[in-house]
Amino acid sequence: MSTPARGDDVLPGLVGFAAALREAGLRCDAHRVQAYLAAVEQVDIGDPRQLYWAGRVTLCSEPDDLPRYDEAFAAWFSGESPVRRRPTLPVSVQPRIAALAAESTTGENTADDERLSVAASEAEVLRERDLAELTSAERRHLRELMAKLRPVPAVRPSLRYRPARRGRLDARRTLRAMLADGGEPSRLVRSRRRTRPRKAVLLVDVSGSMKPYADSLLRFAHVVVRGAPSDVEVFTLGTRLTRVTRQLRQRDPERAMLDAGRAVADFAGGTRLGETLRVFLDRWGQRGMARRATVVIFSDGWERGDASLLGEQVARLRRLAHRVFWVNPHAGHAGYEPVQSGITAVLPYVDRLLAGHSLATLERLLREIAHA
């Protein structure tokens, strides 16, 4: 297959190209392919530049798509045979977080019933246990408890109004009532501001030192996202920043965790908290995601790099966000002192330093978020 302009029927070539893009991970569904074909009709396909743009504006839908599109376009239309440039699922990438979970899912089902019968009393104990020290059976039980959490998002006043007994006069409804009464202003209808959920952003440190907690914290994040899918955003921090909101929006926790694990390339790697936080603020936070949001950072503050950069970035975050919570799993341990350079650098700028090492402390965190 060489350039599509050569043959009489270019359709298979174009559709094949779209399929190759899908292969490369773009979301070009039938609707987009249709638009693509319509676009190609409008341009001069002898001109590679126009052909390129016709596809780019119809088949891509986010900046992440663009490099993949460029690569596929070059490969497809340069006359190379349409080999799979890369497999859909790179086999070398193991779902690392899911692997953590897998330890426990292999547990035998027959034990279920007995275990659940004593679950009620166990649950209380388990709630206080350190997430890092759980056995695989406890871990599994904890997951069930976590799935039962019902996060309540905090609210902020909205611009819209709803009917209320007190508040400003609602002209529209008052007029409606007048008409019903033949023109007499017999009843004044009032309205007050509605409330809207306040945005929340969870930043989960997945570096090596946080490894024992990362799986549970991401599961916790999944629960929070499911509670308010359009108002919660989740990123992982490590050597780089990864947005996992989309993955965590899936209802099935196992699927969500598997996909999130695939997305996070730097799981259990090093930490460059300051730098990744800056990337977050530059790319997302400053433009609006962190504005007036409740931002929760889950990290032990173990900063390898220069802690002053971290301090600067948290100060910046503080100026954008409504509240900044720092959740440090070690803060719940007896004798904990916030002395690591990272923590001391950020302490002046966070609203609350919370523990997050057990289910009970995570529940406390949910209450804090709800009242933020």
């Binding site: 987009r32 638009a35 676009a39 341009v43 743009w53 008409l179 809207r196 433009r287 609006g288």
Partner: protein
Amino acid sequence: MASDGTAGAVPEAPASPGSPDELAGLLEGTGYLADPGIATAAFLALRMRRPLFCEGEPGTGKTSLAVALAEALELPLIRLQCHEGIDAGQALYEWDFPRQLLHLRALEAAEGGRLSVDAAEQSLYTERFLLARPLLQALICAPCVLLVDELDRADDEFEAFLLQLLDENAVTIPEYGEVRAETPPLVVLTSNRTREVHDALKRRCLYHWVEHPGFEREVAILRRRIPGIDERLARQLTEAVQRLRSMELLKPPGVAEALDWAQALTALGKDELDAETAATTLGAVLKYSEDLDRVRASLDSLLG
């Protein structure tokens, strides 16, 4: 052809370019220098009657594209600025309640109490009391260019509401009836990508990611937009601005800032960018004190 309602046999807009290059020529006539990507995207939006969804860094010229398109195609521009909590009342239409109330009182007085409820109500919901907000306006006065600016600032429910309008080019006002555009407006939506816009909306649009212009194009933009600017100064400025963009600043300058800077320098009568001039005018390009401090500390490297 696309299967949705926006495509099909509809009358052409007044100026109808036959190719992306021709459109780029028309845009250039208004002072907007479009690269092939923008020109093709806009051309296809026009031909396929699909909304154009533009994303990109602030200051890359997304909004001005819509302005330039309106001017180049000789169409009125209608602009809807999105913000948090924007609702149908602010975007589509509202009834003018105070005037309706007065009208009702007047009717009452004139009729001397013999007011029929139905007749009174009917006289209230007429065009006279309808306040058309940008979206309804766009449907009424189409063909036109409708700019939905910074969609990412609106709540996501708002997108669902927009979806219907984009699909049908019509709205139904319960008390009044349907308003349908004969010629669908050319819709340009912009987003700074502070949040992700629903795929359902994106799917109905052409997507264009707008980059900062390349060196030669930016020089050309400066020379075009700032009359009388010296070519050497334009090049110096562009070089400095592009260097600033690679400096990891809190707010890297966009084209608008480059233009501001050029304007500041020409207003001061400068024809060269030296360290001293740069230091005193840096506030035109950089809007954060941290950025100013950082750049001031390394002014020499900025000027190359």
